[in-house]
């Protein structure tokens, strides 16, 4: 017979031991939950500085070329100061690598921190998992701290990969950087990641949904980022910018020759993260499950027994767009603001580029004699391509959620042919991307003449159309993967996007054959604004769309659905 422990043994040291076990289990669970994001961020953390370092020799192979390149980059820096910090010693491999490879990586780590925090708390809450965790004797404080510990470990691991990528990038540029400098450069990167995690954690206590927390945290971080960006071009705002974690991170330039490790700023990052985590923990202890500190009281809203009269909910495609309306508005506004910002800077940036001999190749590669048009073509439309790729990935994520959360089962249980589900998804993506790109192009066409930038309207329309096709290409790959492996569709698409981004950069460096460039979806898109349609790319994208969505329609007819 099995001995049953006495009731009293459930208290005291045994409880403490179990609690410790619970913390360890929760940390392990947290690490497991972060594994895919960790893999993606660590991959980017390695590749981004490595590619920047490796490409440096191609841009400036000799000492004289480096000096020229450095001067030109310094001159170009203020034009890009709204996006990334001013360059520092770009005549050296570590300096260029810091500016080109590491500064935007900060944004990737920041976004990860925010998404991880809101996902871990609110997403688990929405799925009912948090209720289970809280029913254990772990306690809310320990639960949050275990989550923080798990994320800190994952983030530290990703920072190590960024350090390895930096070392490899510097070495490939035939330069060197000390281990101490790498560690000093990594500390603020980890610090800002934890600050953003803390912001996300606090936001998750205030809003009642993951999306709301992500939006709230995103707005706060965007404001802090813009503050840093504005301070870069207005040095008088340096004092105010000190509240921005992005500013505090930029202050450390340890890998740059003659750079510095700002211990005070780095310490401030960690203290900020600690304060935010303490605040979030206190708020988490106070609030109701499924509730938020900002949630208002339920008012005397009349009870409703009738179905919604919204006609959009009854129409294919529009019913999906209506459900995503807030997100879609965000995408559209972001695209329009991006177009407006870059096109308004195109003339001055183009003038500068035209005056710098080292950037002639950039202008020539855009297939135009106008440097300003080259900026619109190569900078704005490249960013627009990234935007539609990201939009397609979020749509794929929606589709995967439909499957995992039972909505697909409910839909297929209605008298609709299965293939129509895929067709409607495709059409929803098409319309969403088309709206984004049409309005982005409208802003471009409206602002460009005022800036003295010539943009061919016909080609702009073609460029917008091809961007929509690019979005469909990503979506088609996602749809095909979802048909068989719904859980891995988003990571797979992420890898496709990252590989597509880096392939055109790495192929010339490693002398890969020309056809290998066609493996990049971004290369297939080409530069339609200046060089016209890249027909091979267009047909390959059409083939991807037909095969992807067609295959998905065929696959959904035979696959099994249900949780």
């Amino acid at each position: 017979m099995t001995a049953v422990p006495a009731a009293s043994s459930h208290t005291g040291s045994l409880a403490g031991g179990r609690s410790r076990d619970g913390v360890v289990t929760t940390v392990r669970y947290g690490l497991r939950a972060h594994r895919w994001a960790f893999a993606g961020v660590a991959f980017l953390g390695f590749v981004s500085p490595y590619a920047s370092g490796a490409s440096y020799l191609a841009a400036a192979g000799t000492a004289a070329a480096r000096a020229t390149f450095g001067r030109q980059t310094i001159a170009l820096g203020p034009q890009l100061a709204y996006l990334i910090p001013l360059p520092l010693r770009p005549d050296t491999v570590p300096g260029y690598l810091w500016w080109k490879g590491l500064t935007w990586l900060t944004l990737v780590f920041a976004a990860w921190g925010l998404a991880a925090a809101t996902g871990l708390i609110r997403n688990e809450e929405e799925r009912g998992l948090l209720e289970t965790w809280l029913a254990s004797p772990l306690g809310r404080t320990r639960l949050v701290l275990a989550r923080v510990a798990a994320f800190t470990l994952a983030a530290a691991g990703a920072v190590v990969f960024a350090g390895l990528g930096t070392a490899a990038g510097v070495a490939s540029g035939k330069a060197s950087v000390g281990l101490g400098s790498l560690v000093e450069q990594g500390l603020p990167l980890l610090g800002i990641t934890l600050v953003c995690f803390g912001v996300g954690l606090v936001a998750a206590q205030l809003a009642t949904t993951r999306r709301g927390a992500l939006g709230l945290g995103g707005v706060v971080l965007l404001a802090l980022y813009v503050l840093d960006a504005v301070a870069r071009v207005n040095p008088g705002l340096d004092g105010v910018a000190a509240i921005s974690p992005f500013h505090l991170t930029d202050l450390t330039t340890a890998i740059v020759p003659g750079g510095q490790f700002d211990g005070g700023a780095t310490l401030a990052l960690y203290l900020t993260a600690a304060v935010l985590i303490v605040l979030a923990t206190a708020a988490f202890r106070e609030r109701d499950l499924m509730g938020g500190l900002l949630r208002g009281r339920v008012t005397g809203t009349p009870v409703v027994h009738s179905p919604s009269g919204n006609p959009l909910l009854r129409l294919p495609v529009l019913r999906n767009l209506w459900q995503q309306r807030l997100g879609l508005i965000g995408w559209v506004v972001g695209t329009m603001v991006g177009a407006g910002l870059i096109v308004s800077l195109a003339r001055s940036t183009g003038k500068l580029l035209a005056s710098l001999s080292g950037f002639n190749r950039f202008v020539q590669s855009a297939g135009t004699s106008s440097a300003a048009t080259a900026v619109v073509s190569s900078v704005w439309l490249s960013i627009a391509a990234l935007i539609v790729a990201a939009y397609a990935i979020t749509q794929t994520s929606h589709w995967a959620s439909d499957d995992a959360e039972g909505r697909l089962e409910m839909e297929i249980a209605q008298p609709v042919p299965r293939w129509s589900v895929v067709a409607e998804r495709c059409a929803t993506l098409l319309v969403g991307a088309l709206v984004m790109m049409a309005l982005g192009s409208l802003v471009t066409a409206a602002i460009a003449p005022g800036q003295g930038v010539h943009v061919d309207t016909g080609r702009l329309v073609v460029a917008a159309g091809l961007l929509t096709l690019l979005a469909l290409s990503f979506g088609a790959i996602g749809a095909l993967v979802i048909a068989r492996f719904p859980r891995v569709a988003v990571p797979v698409l992420g890898v496709v996007a990252v590989a597509s981004f880096y392939l055109p950069l790495l192929a010339p460096l490693f002398r890969w054959p020309g056809w290998s460039l066609n493996l990049s979806l971004f290369h297939l898109y080409g530069t339609p604004l200046t060089t016209g349609i890249y027909w091979t790319g267009l047909w390959v994208m059409v083939a991807i769309v037909v095969v992807g969505f067609g295959g998905a329609m065929a696959a959904i007819r035979v696959r099994e659905v249900g949780r």
Binding site: R211, V303, H305, S308, E409, M410, I412, Q414
Partner: protein, 306 residues
């Protein structure tokens, strides 16, 4: 009489003896059929096969003569469906979910929805994520009942419903049957099936072990009874009673199983110094264990024909 559901050798083999095996079943049109089985017996698998959500390893299923796999859209036009687990609709309000799912069928009868929501006491103005599990179930029932359908397929429909709403649900089922509709509902609660159904199929370990009218199932029905005494327990008299089994006595506590009426037992117990009396319905698994005691799980029977 027309046949609403017909399956022939319907099998879904998930491996390691999980799934559904060789289901031969007929449910007549206009019938309320209870599909009874413990957790993991294969009830949801059967329903998913009927709805063409999963595909059979062998065999076939028809609804009103239409092959579920070959013509799923035609089948679903005739069926109202409640899944065992409700989907997550997130921040959508109940009324939006109704309009959305209704839109997939080409529209929704607002008066019918209003009537259902009022009867089930469901506020369609609230966001889905704020619904309790019972309210989510009510919304599922609204979605299943809101269209005119010849067959309702309901997977454990009363899970999470309070007793008052359960009664309303039973009335809805009765109205559906009175209007000529067919109802196929799964459950793991014997009393619920007894309350709502005319005929019952019993599933165990993926195999249909019995199909019978309710009056043929009385031999399955028993209750456990527990009684405490302040003095001597009349154990010999209890053991002598017909229909009383599995009698155990520990100190002044008596426990037994009772089939049929309680009258003779209560009379015997009343003779002793009784201080406490409790009865409870056994779980379905306990019923099966009692019924199949000393037997292996029987092979598939051809008893499924109506």
């Amino acid at each position: 009489m027309a046949v609403a559901i017909r399956t022939e050798g319907l099998t879904k083999d998930y491996g390691e003896s999980h799934g559904l095996f060789g289901l031969d079943l007929e449910v007549a049109a206009g019938e309320v059929f209870g599909y009874l089985g413990p957790n993991g017996a294969g009830k949801t698998t059967t329903i998913r096969l009927l709805m063409d959500l999963v595909r059979p390893t062998h065999g076939r299923a028809e609804i009103f003569g239409v092959d579920c796999h070959a013509h799923p859209v035609e089948v679903k036009r005739m069926v109202g469906y409640l899944p065992g687990e409700m989907p997550q609709w997130g921040g959508l309000r109940g009324r939006d979910v109704v309009a959305y799912v209704g839109g997939l069928r080409g529209g929704v009868d607002a008066a019918r929805v209003k009537s259902l929501a009022e009867r089930l006491d469901l506020d369609l103005g609230r966001r889905y994520r704020l619904y309790s599990s019972g309210n989510k179930r009510k919304l599922g029932l609204v979605l299943a009942f809101m269209h005119p359908s010849r067959l309702l397929v309901l997977d454990e429909p009363t899970n999470g419903l309070d007793p008052l709403i359960q009664q309303e649900f039973y009335r809805l089922v009765e109205e559906e049957a009175a209007g000529g509709g067919t109802v196929f509902l799964s459950s793991h609660v014997l009393s619920e099936v007894e309350r709502a159904c005319q005929r019952v199929g019993i599933l165990r370990q993926g195999r249909l072990v019995q199909v019978a009218r309710l009056d043929e199932l009385h031999h399955l029905r028993y209750h456990r009874l527990e009684a405490d005494f302040s003095g001597e327990v009349p154990v010999a008299a209890v053991r002598a009673l017909a229909g009383v089994e599995d009698v155990t006595v520990e100190d002044h506590h008596l426990s037994c199983a009772v089939r049929g009426g309680f009258g003779p037992l209560l009379e015997v117990l009343g003779r002793g110094p009784i201080t406490n009396l409790v009865t409870h319905e056994p779980t379905l698994e306990e019923v099966f264990l009692a019924y199949f005691r000393d037997q292996e799980a029987p092979a598939v029977t051809p008893a499924g024909k109506a």
